[in-house]
């Protein structure tokens, strides 16, 4: 019964994404989508992939990392360098998926290299060390010759489009939701809820922490490859800690441990600055105020009655509770 519920929950999430995709596709086909909207679709999709994968670490494993953009940059450079090298030899249909897999795997390797020493640390110490790793990766990429240095990597074929991003989003969602509902996912959640209890039940803490870390790194790497294929120049300066923080904001806003929340929050947070474009210079100020207000409403005791409802995941629970209350009454 419980398992069935979870599956329905996941299917609703997939359904929302598919419906949104179809809606936007119809807009594009009928020529009703503005250039602005079309340009925003790939960044929104990327943020969905990044947020869902980061949610695995922050929401389900319960560890704070500020280095997600670092994995993204490693994946982006690995995938794009591959794509540039084989641009003439392989057809796009083979090359692009291969580039994504290579980018993801390289990010995985970095996930292991970074994760093994770093995951011994906890809380804020882990946060600052992952931030430090992200910054180190960025500095090194800027100083290397074959990555194009500070001026950026040029010549990646621009193969990214909205449809490919949609396919990758669906794969990400299926993999992560199934992982979370599996034995491994329950082990990961148990580490978050009580590490010592989990350890005494015989759960291998290091293994599961690393597993979550590496899977999240893989998807961040894939997102990086798509990002690289979306722009004519790939610059390392984009992947600074502010990018990691942006993804973290999406995860926290969407509700930690809520995949559907991450998806919706990714759309809102990516689109919000664009929607505020008419306010020109004031848009970042308003964005900041909105962010603070949402966090205050969410966390303050004064609003405790509504606690957990102001984030999007919570809103769904609220609606569901109301519905079931109606049905019962």
């Amino acid at each position: 019964m419980k398992k069935n519920n979870l599956n329905i929950h996941n299917l609703i999430t997939y359904g929302i994404v598919v419906a949104a995709f179809l809606f936007v596709s119809i807009l594009v086909w009928t020529g009703n989508a503005s250039r602005h909207l079309q340009a925003m679709l790939v960044p929104i999709g990327l943020n969905i992939i990044l947020a869902v994968s980061l949610n695995l670490i922050v929401g389900f494993l319960g560890e704070l990392t500020l280095g997600h953009a670092g994995f993204m940059s490693v994946g982006a450079y690995a995938g794009c360098l591959f794509a540039i090298k084989y641009a003439e030899i392989l057809p796009t249909a083979v090359r692009f998926p291969l580039a994504m897999i290579i980018g993801g795997l390289v990010a995985c390797v970095f996930g292991i290299i970074i994760g093994v020493p770093v995951l011994r640390l906890k809380g804020d110490y882990l946060a600052i060390v992952t931030l430090a790793f992200g910054e180190i990766i960025r500095s090194i990429i800027i100083n290397l010759e074959f990555t194009g240095g500070a001026s950026g990597l040029k010549g990646t074929p621009q193969n990214s489009n909205f449809y490919i991003v949609f396919v990758v989003i669906m794969i990400t969602l299926v993999v992560i939701t199934n992982l979370v509902n599996s034995r491994a996912g329950r082990a990961i959640c148990s580490i978050r809820d009580n590490r010592i209890a989990a350890e005494s039940l015989g759960i291998n803490i290091t293994y599961y922490k690393l597993l979550a870390f590496v899977i999240a790194a893989f998807f961040a790497g894939v997102a990086g490859v798509i990002y690289g294929h979306n722009l004519s120049i790939l610059q390392a300066s984009v992947f600074d800690y502010n990018r990691s923080i942006e993804i973290l904001v999406i995860v926290v806003l969407g509700g930690m441990g809520s995949i559907r929340g991450s998806v919706i929050a990714a759309v809102i947070i990516t689109a919000l600055p664009e929607m505020l474009r008419s306010l020109a210079d004031y848009r970042m100020l308003i964005y900041a105020v909105v962010l603070i207000a949402m966090m205050l409403l969410n966390g303050s005791q004064k609003f405790d009655k509504y606690k957990g409802r102001m984030n999007i995941g919570g809103l769904f629970t609220l609606l569901k509770n109301k519905k079931s209350a109606k049905e019962a009454g």
């Binding site: 011994r120 962010l291 603070i292």
Partner: protein, 292 residues
């Protein structure tokens, strides 16, 4: 440049980091939160002094005092509005709020002063001291170090000898127990934010004097570095922040001089990672045993 002058420049940079790191560490010790907006308080301090001295033509002393007062008030106001309602919320919520405050201060400065870098007024005009051909001591470096040492001594005395200082120690040890002993927790937290932010204003002054330019994003990188310094020394530990800050400044300056300018940031962060892998709670942090 000789080794000694590199070292002295490093010590001066390190003193600046130490001043900022003190703010991070004191706030962390007492409120158990990472105040990501702390770096931007430096920027606000620097811009206040810039406005007072360059636009309103006040004397240097008045400009500096104005900067310190504005930052102190700003620190207290930020705490009251943004952090106080979240005292019982999850650390991540507070972290994101702090990031929101940081964005807010940056975009406000961007609106008021524009994105161009402003040249910081030379509030003091001291001649550099020539010891010999190779060794020229910049007087603002010496002043930065001197003032930082004075502040550190005063702060250590304040925390260990006065009633308010001991209240701060008590609150950072155990908030509930301190409250039962009659310590006014809210007031103590406000004072901590006030002290931390006024130190950030002083750091903003030295930043302006050392680099000569300020912009809306000036505070971000020194803020992150000082945060690294605080963690390096053991976050929550006041002598640790001083040590961490000075070490970080020296390492950064020496690696800039002898290894690579571009990689100096990477080296600084690598040192942090190595230290934390050997001592997971920082150089001077205490090991906390977990109770089951």
């Amino acid at each position: 440049m000789s080794f000694i002058s590199n070292l002295i420049n490093g010590l001066s940079l390190g003193s600046m980091y130490a001043l900022i790191a003190l703010g991070y560490t004191m706030v962390y010790g007492i409120a158990k939160m990472l105040n990501f907006a702390h770096g931007d308080v430096i920027m606000v301090g620097a811009f206040t002094m810039f406005t007072a001295a360059a636009t309103l033509k006040f004397s240097p002393a008045i400009s500096i005092i104005a900067g310190i007062i504005v930052c102190t008030l700003l620190g207290v106001i930020i705490e009251k509005i943004a952090y106080k309602p979240l005292r019982k919320a999850s650390p991540l919520t507070v972290l994101i709020t702090a990031i929101g405050v940081s964005y807010f201060l940056q975009s406000l400065a961007l609106l008021i002063f524009g994105s161009n870098q402003k040249s910081f007024p030379m509030l003091f005009n001291f001649e550099p001291i020539r010891v010999n051909e190779d060794l020229i001591l910049k007087s603002d470096s010496l002043m930065t170090m001197g003032v930082t040492i004075l502040i550190m001594v005063a702060l250590t005395l304040f925390i260990n000898k006065t009633k308010t200082g001991r209240a701060m120690l008590a609150v950072s040890e155990d908030k509930g127990a301190a409250e039962l002993m009659g310590v006014n927790v809210n007031k103590t937290i406000s004072i901590t934010f006030a002290i931390g932010s006024s130190l950030a204003a002083v750091a903003g002054l030295f930043f302006g004097l050392t680099y000569g330019f300020i912009g809306p994003y000036t505070g971000a990188m020194p803020g992150i570095k000082a945060f690294v310094a605080a963690v390096l020394g053991g976050i929550g530990n006041i002598p640790g922040a001083m040590l961490g800050g000075i070490l970080l400044g020296v390492i950064e300056n020496l690696s800039k001089a002898y290894i690579s300018t571009e990689l100096s940031d990477a080296i600084v962060f690598a040192v942090l990672i190595i230290v934390l892998l050997v001592k997971p709670t920082g150089l001077m942090g205490k090991k906390i045993n977990e109770k089951v």
